[in-house]
């Protein structure tokens, strides 16, 4: 009797698991935290467009980890915020949209413009006091915050600002972009960097080399804003999933997808205008 009940329970539990995969197609992705707000918005819109036939599971474990997932087959696609490296063998990078890396300070800071060189000096520990940055109206010690090595944002910053030199030991490396926003919001002496999608949440984006960090300035080629970059969808070069490709085509071309990207804080680079 009891063993029969047990067997029935097991079968019932298995039965519960099946319909979820049979009714709708679930696409599995992972990767960039910086791209997450835009990607999630695109996923939601695409699920609506396909009337619930395609669903997404996206784990924001960092762009580099996402590419590894694609390489070993655990993910069907990855979000990535940096350009391809030699270690990404076996994957294809598809440009999805444009993103700007903004340099942010607390709203109490009077600074409005910063150069790449000044940012470099702050994050290398060469300038440690706000008095070294004219226009800030502060003479306190700078609290620089950044990402840990798991973030695609970190790699982009490392390449674009620090010339691949590691950040100084007084830079606080946080585990997520949201924590960087939070740190800048709460500390009048902080400076941080994060994607365009995170702007306007209690922090002030600075002009970099005189160009404001705004969607309208981060145009398609040539990239005027010094810290602008493409966000990529990474697919396996061999046998990419056709459903994922269909989604990528939609996200790159469809005007509605373009609006979704803009609303979520990215800059649509390829989408047709309505």
């Amino acid at each position: 009797m009891k063993s029969k009940t047990l067997a029935l329970t097991v079968i019932a539990l298995l039965g519960l698991a099946v319909p979820a995969s049979a009714g709708a197609k679930t696409l599995i992705g992972s990767g960039s935290v910086a791209a997450q707000p835009v990607l999630q918005a695109l996923f939601a819109q695409y699920t609506k467009v396909t009337k619930g036939k395609v669903k997404f599971v996206y784990t924001a474990n960092g762009g580099n980890a996402g590419v590894k997932d694609v390489q070993n087959g655990t993910s069907q696609f990855a979000g990535q915020a940096r350009t391809p490296l030699p270690s990404d063998a076996g994957t294809t990078y598809v440009k999805l949209y444009l993103d700007g890396l903004c340099i942010d300070v607390n709203p109490k800071n009077k600074l409005s413009d910063i150069s790449i060189q000044q940012t470099h000096d702050i994050y290398r520990g060469l300038i440690t006091n706000w008095s070294g940055i004219p226009g800030s109206g502060l003479d306190t010690t700078i609290d620089p915050v950044g990402r840990d090595t798991n973030g695609g944002t970190y790699n982009f910053f490392l390449q674009a600002v620090l010339n691949n030199e590691p950040p100084a030991s007084n830079v606080n490396a946080l585990t997520a972009d949201g924590l960087v926003v939070n740190a800048v919001k709460q500390d009048p002496n902080a400076i941080g960097y994060d994607g365009l999608a995170w702007q306007g949440k209690g922090q002030k984006a600075l002009k970099v080399n005189g160009v404001p960090c705004q969607a309208s300035k981060i145009s398609v080629e040539p990239l005027k804003y010094p810290l602008s970059r493409y966000i990529f969808i990474v697919l396996p070069t061999e046998n990419p999933n056709p459903a994922v490709q269909k989604f990528v085509d939609w996200a790159r071309r469809d005007p509605v997808a373009g609006e979704v990207i803009a609303k979520a804080g990215g800059v649509a680079a390829f989408n047709k205008k309505k």
Binding site: T141, D143, D148, N150, A168, S169, N170, A183, D187
Partner: protein, 331 residues
């Protein structure tokens, strides 16, 4: 005899069958555990082999070493393994030690209050609350730390001159020993309270009544008889709490700071505001580097040290409880 077995008792599983099945399960669990330990140590071996005992020592900047180890694996040239983990070990000792010491005393007094002194309605309320607190996921404490405690310390407790005195070396922005120890204490104290009060409640009432009947007051009875008898439970609770504190990764990664810096008590008052990074959060923060073989070995070596200290802890706890058995301890 067979016929008289009542049907409503359900099917009869022979004891032997149960014994074998449970035995097999236990063997599987033990085998899994052994396999895990072997894998961790095998993977960690290159790091220990290259550094010897210097692995545990001080020397150089630990973050630069981690970076060099990672890059050497990416480049595919000769692997670098040089790694001196002392700042990370020191940070683990400071944060765990501080939190466990504070939590031990406060939890003991809270447990004594709940079991011996609080009116019944109050202990009825406090107990489920304590049990609930003990089961709150650590990331919630981490969030509270990041949103409330860290900015408070950074903006109100640390002065500008203190920050300027270490400018360029470390940032005193609130991510600190103080924040880590405070939140860790709050995290492990409920666990200790709930185990301590179980121990205190298990003390034979006759012993307490005997003492009270001799005219000894309640505080002295509690301290000399209840707390003494409950010592094995106190050791057990402390060991569990230390194990949880040493292994805590997510919460500490959020608030302890991210630099491999060894806070120095000789720095005076700013010592408690200094950031550091214990062993477990180091694994979390560098998880992305697992693809580089030497970095992989180094991270597994950190894991091996954590595993070894956990094993050592439970051994110490077992030995301490054994030694106390002669005092009539029950647990």
């Amino acid at each position: 005899m067979e016929e008289s077995y009542p049907e409503e008792y359900g099917p009869r599983w022979s004891d032997r069958r149960v014994e074998r099945m449970l035995g097999a399960l236990v063997c599987a669990v033990v085998a899994l555990l052994l396999a895990m330990i072997v894998i961790v140590f095998v993977k960690a071996w290159p790091s220990f082999a290259h550094n010897g005992l210097a692995w545990f020592g001080a020397g150089g900047n630990v973050d630069d070493q981690l970076n060099a180890i990672f890059l050497s694996g990416q480049a595919g040239a000769e692997y670098i393994y040089t790694f001196h983990a002392w700042p990370l070990i020191w940070s683990t000792l400071l944060i765990t030690g501080g939190a466990v010491t504070i939590a031990l005393f406060s939890a003991l007094f809270v447990a004594v209050f709940i079991v011996e002194f609080a009116p019944e309605w109050m202990s009825n309320v406090l107990q489920p609350v304590v049990r609930f607190l003990a089961s709150v996921p650590s990331v919630i404490y981490g969030l509270l730390g990041v949103l409330v405690l860290v900015p408070f310390i950074g903006n109100h407790l640390v002065s500008e001159s203190q920050k300027a005195s270490v400018a360029g070396v470390i940032s005193l922005s609130g991510y600190s020993l103080l924040a880590a120890v405070t939140v860790l204490t709050v995290m492990i104290a409920p666990l200790m309270v709930s185990i301590f009060s179980d121990g205190l409640r298990a003390v034979r009432p006759g012993w307490l009544e005997g003492s009270l009947a001799l005219g000894v007051n309640r505080w002295r009875t509690t301290w000399k008889i209840a707390v003494r008898t409950a010592r094995p439970a106190i050791v057990a609770g402390t060991v569990l709490a230390v194990a949880r504190a040493i292994g805590e990764a997510v919460m500490l990664a959020m608030i302890s700071g991210s630099v491999g810096f060894a806070p120095n008590p000789a720095d005076g008052a700013i010592f408690i505001f200094e950031p550091s990074r214990p062993l477990a959060p180091t694994i979390v923060k560098n998880i992305d580097q697992l693809s580089s073989p030497p970095a992989n070995a180094t991270l597994f070596a950190i894991a091996a040290v954590l595993l070894f200290s956990a094993a050592l802890l439970s051994l110490t706890g077992w030995a301490a409880r054994r030694a106390m058995r002669k005092y009539g301890a029950t647990a």
